[in-house]
């Protein structure tokens, strides 16, 4: 699936992560920009969670920006699920 609109979820607070998703032109694949305050320790795990969820929702032609402030896995998954569903117009949120 391809994002229909730009969408955002999460905050810049500690233990949280903010995701911004926007659609890319057709056949662009995925463009990920991930930064984290704990990249050295948990970067690989963070990337895996993001890739797994994007696969789960079959997301493509997507530009994803993540700025992580040490979120735990359930928070990362919740924020990304929210951003994806908002970008697919399945639920309301910010940046509509």
């Amino acid at each position: 699936m391809k994002p229909k609109i730009a969408a955002q979820s999460g905050t810049f607070e500690s233990s949280d992560v903010i995701f911004l998703i926007e659609p890319l032109p057709d056949n662009s694949g995925r463009k990920l920009e991930i930064t984290s305050t704990v990249m050295q320790q948990f970067g690989a795990s963070f990337n895996r969670i993001v890739e797994d969820m994007l696969n789960q929702y079959d997301m493509t032609d997507i530009h994803l920006i993540a700025k992580d402030k040490g979120a735990l896995e359930p928070t990362i998954k919740a924020r990304l699920e929210t951003a994806i569903k908002r970008s697919l117009n399945q639920q309301e949120g910010t940046l509509k």
């Binding site: 607070e13 233990s15 735990l72 928070t75 919740a78 639920q91 309301e92 949120g93």
Partner: protein, 283 residues
């Protein structure tokens, strides 16, 4: 009971270490309208993996009259928190409708109907008028609670630190809970910097019969516990009363005196309640 905003991951993941008897993960007033979806997903995910130790976990969902209430129940009921807290409860019919929806969701997930309980929040004048029926008609309602801020708004009055405007409601709600043999929890004290005011209000709440108090900041927990926990003197006295009551009862004596004060059934009953609170058994 500590309120934790449902969209705050840092507070939720630490929910079990603040020392509260219970935490309330709030999807209602503590969450902005455009973040309801995010909070619901976050609370659902957190409840699945975070260890809250022995802290009871309740979730306050949005009212069914809002676009969020049903979606909240669909996500939260399958996780079976200790209780669902329902805001702005106004009538027993409303509770019946809510329970019907909850039980349908439980049936779909093969869950029992007797595990998770319901806390009804009384926050409107109509709710205060109907509180006894709300408290007494449903076995799953095991606590009622007063929402001071919303109630004063509904009454078009200003919330004052002396609680004058909600005093009648407080007492009526307490009486309904006592008559229904369920818990009754007082509203939050909104000024986190006024510790004396918090202590004063908590002492008053205890005096008129509340069994607990909600807090909005972990800093308020210790004061609430200090007020509601029986003192060592109270426990010793209660222990003596119950012990002597048992000795006297065995000898066929119903009323007796300790230190010149008459001890009869109501005094014994109060002493037994103190020992239950203190988790003390009489040898």
């Amino acid at each position: 009971m500590l309120y934790i905003p449902g969209n705050n991951p840092a507070m939720i993941q630490q929910g079990g270490i603040y020392g509260a008897d219970s935490i309330l993960l709030d999807l209602e007033d503590a969450v902005a309208l455009n973040q309801k979806d995010a909070a619901r997903t976050l609370v659902r995910n957190m409840m699945k993996v975070v260890d809250f130790y022995d802290t009871e976990v309740c979730v306050r969902v949005n009212h069914l009259s809002t676009p969020f209430g049903l979606a909240d129940l669909e996500e939260i009921v399958p996780l079976q928190p200790s209780a669902i807290r329902y805001p702005k409860t106004e009538s027993p019919e409303e509770v019946a409708e809510l329970l019907k929806i909850i039980e349908k969701i439980e049936d779909r997930h093969g869950l029992p109907h007797n595990k998770m309980t319901l806390h009804a929040m009384i926050e409107t004048a109509m709710g205060v008028q109907n509180v006894f029926n709300i408290a007494s008609m449903f076995t799953r309602v095991d606590a009622i609670t007063i929402g001071g801020q919303d109630l004063t708004a509904d009454m078009n009055i200003i919330y004052t630190p002396d609680g004058a405007g909600i005093d009648f409601a407080r007492k009526r709600i307490v009486m309904a809970a006592k008559a229904s043999h369920i818990d009754v929890i007082d509203t939050v004290f909104p000024d986190v910097n006024d510790e004396e005011g918090l202590r004063r209000e908590t002492e008053y709440a205890k005096k008129i019969g509340f069994t607990g108090k909600a807090v909005i900041n972990p800093r308020q927990i210790d004061i609430i516990h200090e007020v509601f926990t029986p003192t060592e003197d109270e426990i010793r006295k209660a222990y003596r009363i119950v012990k002597e009551f048992r000795t006297n009862s065995a000898a066929g004596i119903g009323v007796f005196a300790i230190d010149g004060k008459m001890i009869d059934a109501p005094v014994v009953s109060r002493a037994e309640y103190i020992l239950r609170l203190a988790n003390v058994t009489v040898a």
